[in-house]
Symmetry: C2
């Protein structure tokens, strides 16, 4: 593994971990009033494109980070549609 | 420019655009109660590491996206500390 992949994985852990409390909070409180569906969909598509990009450049840390974040964004969209 | 950089820039536009309304809303309402400082700092450091990673792999779209998001995260930290 390239040395800078360690930087990528540290980045992946920090940015995905910062996002998870939002998913957990929304799941627990079922409060989706502050979440905008168009914004969530935009974010979801953006992360999906980053994942495609990461596969193109073959970056393990980016693939991991964007796969997890894509799952989180999907859950938020699901919550938004279910709890509304 | 490599063809997949277009995918990267599309991803960059979508994910940074999805983040900007939060910055604008916080600036306008001065309501920082829902923002967690440790989480913001974690996110800021994570994005800074992505930026370092992007410079290493020389990815124009990632450099652009993470530079803008780093600025947004910095503003949110500044708002959190100022308006608290």
């Amino acid at each position: 593994m390239d040395a800078f992949e360690y930087i990528g994985f540290a980045a992946a852990i920090l940015t995905t971990a910062a996002f998870l409390p939002q998913v957990f909070k929304t799941w627990k409180t079922k409060d989706v009033s502050g979440l905008s569906l168009p914004m969530l969909v935009m974010f979801f598509v953006g992360v999906a494109l980053w994942l495609v990009y990461a596969l193109f450049i073959d970056s393990p840390s980016m693939i991991a980070a964007n796969a997890i974040t894509l799952g989180s964004a999907f859950l938020l969209i699901y919550f938004k549609l279910s709890y509304n």
